[in-house]
């Protein structure tokens, strides 16, 4: 029995991962203190604060990391917190662009309407950089917020796409002195020195949080080079594979909290939804049903496999079927 062609098992896992999507159960997800800590921290921030969201992952783990980055980005934008987007690897640069597109896509609920850096240069030159004043001045020019939109976001005031820089650990270290020195231009070629958010937050000392969304151990750079140097608060959004390794950092207080895998992202989405920040939950939450079903299947397979093995249904020397 143990020698069944593995392709049957492949088929089983495929079916189990598709069916719950079609049914759509929506089982409740409870939240843990590791995620609540990040949420509460970001929730306290206001329009004079800024955070970094670092896209320290490649497309391979985007299914886990992107929902986290998007959830926190929405939360920060909702509170008018300025968001810096960076990446520690070139492919993460593309991930940052993708996440920004997602948050500003009118086809997706809870989207924000982005105003590019050039478009509001007149207002900027007139010295209007306070968020509330900016919005009223912008709307008085005849711009209307699209229906269903959560708000305006101004490039250079609400977000800055700084992107990738090589030897990123040293870039973090350099940003503790000056962000502009490390990123003279953003990814769109705008001069960062002219951005209001960089004038309010010139170095990492004036930034309130760094969230590293990471699929590798490189998120630790934020602890080693920013947190240990200037005491900057750091939070992690890591893939499930990495998550268990970072509990020591939570206990030692080096990070304020951690989102582990899709589940962590789903928890943040639930918190956003329950606190009225967003009107729907996102992709991570919908994925949790499948996650439940697939875990059950795998546990079932482990138990069945062991029963078959110990009941002697397995002969070590029988031929191996299927492709290796």
């Amino acid at each position: 029995m143990l020698n069944i062609d593995r392709r049957w098992i492949f088929l089983a896992i495929g079916v189990v991962s598709i069916v719950p999507f079609l049914i759509g159960i929506g089982m409740p997800v409870s939240t843990t203190v590791e995620v609540e800590n990040i949420f509460d921290y970001v929730n306290e921030l206001g329009k004079d604060d800024a955070i970094f969201i670092s896209f320290d992952y490649a497309p391979g783990t985007q299914a886990e990391n992107t929902p986290m980055a998007i959830a926190v980005m929405r939360h920060a934008l909702h509170n008018d917190v300025s968001v810096f987007l960076t990446a520690n690897q070139p492919l993460g640069h593309g991930m940052a662009i993708g996440a920004l597109h997602y948050v500003t896509d009118p086809a997706i609920p809870d989207f924000y309407e982005s105003v590019s850096f050039e478009d509001w240069s007149a207002l900027r030159d007139a010295g209007i950089v306070d968020k509330d004043e900016l919005v009223s001045a912008w709307e008085s020019e005849g711009n209307v917020l699209p229906e269903g939109c959560s708000g305006w976001i101004f490039e250079g005031r609400d977000y800055a796409l700084l992107g990738y820089a090589p030897v990123f650990n040293l870039v973090i270290l350099g940003m503790t002195n000056s962000i502009e020195a490390q990123y003279p231009q953003d990814a769109h070629g705008n001069s960062t020195g002219e951005m209001p958010m960089l004038r309010d937050h010139k170095s990492l000392r004036e930034v309130d949080l760094a969230l590293s969304c990471s699929g590798s151990g490189a998120c630790v750079w934020w602890i080693t080079y920013a947190r240990e140097k200037i005491g900057m608060p750091v939070a992690f959004g890591v893939t499930a594979v990495m998550a268990t390794d970072y509990y020591p950092y939570i206990q030692s207080g080096q990070i304020i909290g951690q989102m582990g895998g899709l589940r962590g992202a789903a928890e943040y989405e639930v918190l956003l939804y329950e606190n009225g920040v967003t009107v729907t939950t996102g992709k991570a939450f919908t994925g949790m049903d499948v996650q439940s079903a697939a875990h059950l299947l795998i546990i079932f397979l482990i138990i069945m496999g062991n029963i078959a093995f110990f009941a002697g249904g397995f002969h070590k020397k029988t031929a191996l079927k299927g492709r290796g």
């Binding site: 098992i9 497309p59 993708g98 020591p248 496999g305």
Partner: protein, 207 residues
Amino acid sequence: MIVLVGGILMIVQYFIPHQYSQNIFNYYTEWAPIVGAFALILGVGSLTRVHSHKIRRKAKNWQFSWAVLIPLYGMPFFALIWPQSLWGGMEEPGIFDFVFMHIQVPIQATMFSLLAFYIASAAFRAFRAKSALATVLLLAAVIVMLGQVPIGEMLGRWLPETGLWILRYPNLAAKRAIMLGVGFGILATNLKIIFGVERNWLGGAGK
């Protein structure tokens, strides 16, 4: 020699807050990314060499080497020299972004999701509670797996609670011990490289 001087300089620098030390350090943070960026030449060079070799010798599956070389040089071409969009329209992102978002991202994301299938297969055919230790491991794994998903909460409150307890205490203890060990390992490797005891990282350059 450069390694020794550079390494010691940087260690000493950490303990000296004086402005001369800071200036050295500022130059360093400015220069290192520039030098680091050129390291890409190595990757491009060796990839080109391996695959052009294959094509020339018509090695097995040599046709696929074109699938490596064409995008390797095509991507920078579309990004820097000819940032053309697919149909020439202005609003559409260029070919460069298209290839990244719609070829690179799906392939890479799918590659890793293959593992979900393999884990399921291994769960049935290979994960064995052969010894007491492996049994403990599998039990802990099952509890954590159930505790992490909504259905576990429906089966009983104790499941997620036990799962989180394992994560927060025994898991933390084990990972911290490993982390301390790895920390010393990294430090020892740093020292060995700075003092030239370890030279493997040169990767045979110039041999």
